[in-house]
Amino acid sequence: MTMLGDRQQLAYIASQAADARVNVELETEGMTLNIGPQHPATHGTLRIIARLDGEQVLWAEPSCGYMHRGYEKLTEVRTFPQVTALINRIDWLGSFANEVPFILAAEQLMGIEAPPRAQWIRTILFELSRIANVSLFLGDLGVQLGAITPVFFAFRDREYVLNLIEGATGGRFHPNFDRIGGLKDDLPAGWIDETRAVMRKMRKFCDEIEGLLFGNEIFEARTRGIGVIPRDVALQYGLSGANLRGSGVDWDLRRDQKLPMAWDKIDWKVWTHPDGDSYARCWIRLQEVRESTFIVEKLLDSLPSGPVMAKVPRIIKVPEGEAWVATENPLGEMGYYVVSKGELGPFRVKIRSASFNNISIVPWLLKGVYVPDIITILASLYFILGDIDR
């Protein structure tokens, strides 16, 4: 821990030096480097404009919008069931989790609640999409840092989780399984046993990643003390998810919010890390994948029987009102502010996606780091482009 203090100090000195160099009169001509929109490290089409002095970043700014699809406008011309099919494409890796807060918001406005079995299955699928999403992050983290093997492990083991999601919902990436008032269908026979087996595999995957990356001295050298976000800055920028918990804020919407979901029915742990650096953020995600496998197993143990659909009218009209529901998605806090005017479709939907806030800190964070650290920091903040641009 004392080592870390030194590193933080060094990072601070470096950023100060970068600032100072801009002000010095005898300034050498820098270089503007365009990272992206087509670049291996940008998970899609994020573009980062960086002003470099040698390998040091003097100033950097992300430029997004290369994948803006205008979901907030599109929701206004769609009915509530159609919106569900649309929004699971926002964060395409954890798509089921995108549906849940919207459905919950609509249910809140209609004053209905899904039956317990539906709540349980929702929570299970929610956690499965977290595992699918974050396990890919862990693999991708390796690629960003130059290790090529973890990503293949991630793709290999994520496939089992996607098979589970597809087996239950019919869609690998875009389940569209949530309905206002419950779920489309119950689980198919044999699914629970399969899920238990996969959860064991995912824990083995976590161990492998821990061996390949997290214990590795080179990995530690690359991530510790890099991209430190202090607690109050994290709150100001509205970071969420592992990025916030990595800065030592003990806040998890799954635990700290009363929602008709099954998280509060079982025991589990919220992981936090005091350091706020890249290592802390990645480490928390690893622990969360592991924790999620336990959550899924515990929920399967206590799965209640009963219907999966509450009584809802055939044609859904949501009463007039406004509702805000956010859940702790794989990427962080994902919320929908739904305004309904009592019609078939919503009047306005504000989509608060996690990555948009998480990436807005980048200009602040990238000052004074080296070019390879840009990649480390971006990877550790973990964004999905569809989640930034919506």
Binding site: N34, P40, E55, L145, G146, A147, L212, Y370, P372, I374
Partner: protein, 350 residues
């Protein structure tokens, strides 16, 4: 055997040497690509690798080469065209020059330099020049950064490599690679000559430093910042395609093979088997069949060393540029200096 070669005309000798050189570079390179890059990497990642071209994908490399050769010879608009085109050739030529001093058997050598070690280390740094001008001539910021990183890194790691080899030279008492092989195989450890005296045992520190330096010299992970595909797209190779990229590609793996050959000569006893097994006493008393078996032994040792290089490459993340420099100057160079001192003290003592 030597008599046979001496009896053919000079031009034919030269032709044989050139052909031999090409085989000695391309055959290991192709084998390394197939065995390690295609198959071992895939197995380490729970997959099978190429399976379609030929049995178990064994002809995949030929398919790839065919594909690259068909591609258009592209160069960026603002590139310095002549230099851009010549850069890959410089990189590859350094590999060919390097293989010239490698002895494959008691008589199977291309040239028998007295200062072979010196030559090898000098020639191996020619490739830096090629990489540097490739990075500069591409007129691309990523390439430039990659080229500059490569220059800094290769120069930093040249030094520990040289210093690591000095230990071997001191112990063998010669800079001739052939003599170093003989010295290892004819030697003995405290009077027991069942293994000869491979320097990996006595010069273990030197061996480790040498292999780390080789890893960096080859720009393999964890020292692959000049390429660093997640940061610099592909570093100095970003703008290359078609057969020029192919040359870089061959150069990368051929150099890995040649460096492994040199490492096996310096530390593993090269082409030889311990002379005591067959009752040989010096290089002149070796049976002629060693000229055929020797290259095979060399090849086996090379594959073993390349396996380690590639194994590390597929397992580790990458250092940052400044960490790499710090590692070279603050750890490897002092360590190799200590190693030299210890070796010389022991040399004098025994």
């Amino acid at each position: 055997m030597l008599g046979l070669i001496a009896s053919i005309p000079y031009w034919a000798q030269s032709l044989l040497r050139v052909l031999g050189g090409i085989v000695a570079v391309l055959l290991p390179a192709g084998t390394i690509v197939y065995v390690f890059l295609f198959k071992m990497m895939s197995f380490m990642q729970s997959r099978l690798g190429p399976m379609e071209a030929g049995p178990f994908g064994s002809l995949q490399l030929f398919a790839e080469v065919g594909k690259w050769l068909q591609k258009e010879d592209l160069y960026p608009e603002r590139a310095d065209r002549f230099i851009f085109k010549i850069a890959p050739l410089i990189v590859l030529s350094s590999t060919f020059l390097l293989v010239a001093v490698v002895p494959f058997g008691p008589d199977a050598w291309f040239t028998n330099f007295e200062a072979g070690v010196f030559y090898a280390l000098a020639v191996s740094s020619v490739s830096v020049l090629g990489i540097l001008i490739a990075g500069w001539a591409s007129a691309n910021k990523y390439s430039l950064l990659g080229g500059l990183r490569a220059a800094g890194q290769l120069i930093a790691y040249e030094l520990p490599m040289v210093l690591a080899v000095i230990g071997v030279v001191i112990q063998a008492g010669t800079m001739n690679l052939q003599q170093i092989v003989v010295a290892q195989n004819a030697g003995s450890i405290f009077g027991w000559d069942g293994l000869g005296n491979p320097y990996i045992l006595t010069q273990f520190v030197g061996f480790v430093i040498f292999m780390i330096a080789v890893q960096a010299e080859l720009t393999q992970t964890p020292f692959d910042m000049p390429i660093a595909e997640s940061e610099l797209v592909s570093g100095y190779m970003t703008e290359y395609s078609g057969f020029r990229f192919l040359i870089f590609f061959i150069g990368e793996f051929a150099t890995a093979g040649v460096f492994a050959l040199i490492a096996s000569i310096l530390f593993l006893g090269g082409w030889g088997v311990p002379f005591a097994w067959f009752g040989w006493t010096s290089i002149d008393s070796i049976d002629n069949w060693m000229n055929v078996v020797g290259p095979l032994i060399m090849f086996t040792k090379m594959m073993l060393l390349v396996f380690i290089i590639m194994w590390v490459r597929f397992s580790y993340p990458r250092f940052r540029e400044d960490q790499l420099q710090r590692f070279a100057w603050k750890v490897l160079i002092p360590l190799s200096l200590v190693n030299i001192m210890a070796t010389s003290v022991l040399k004098v003592a025994f």
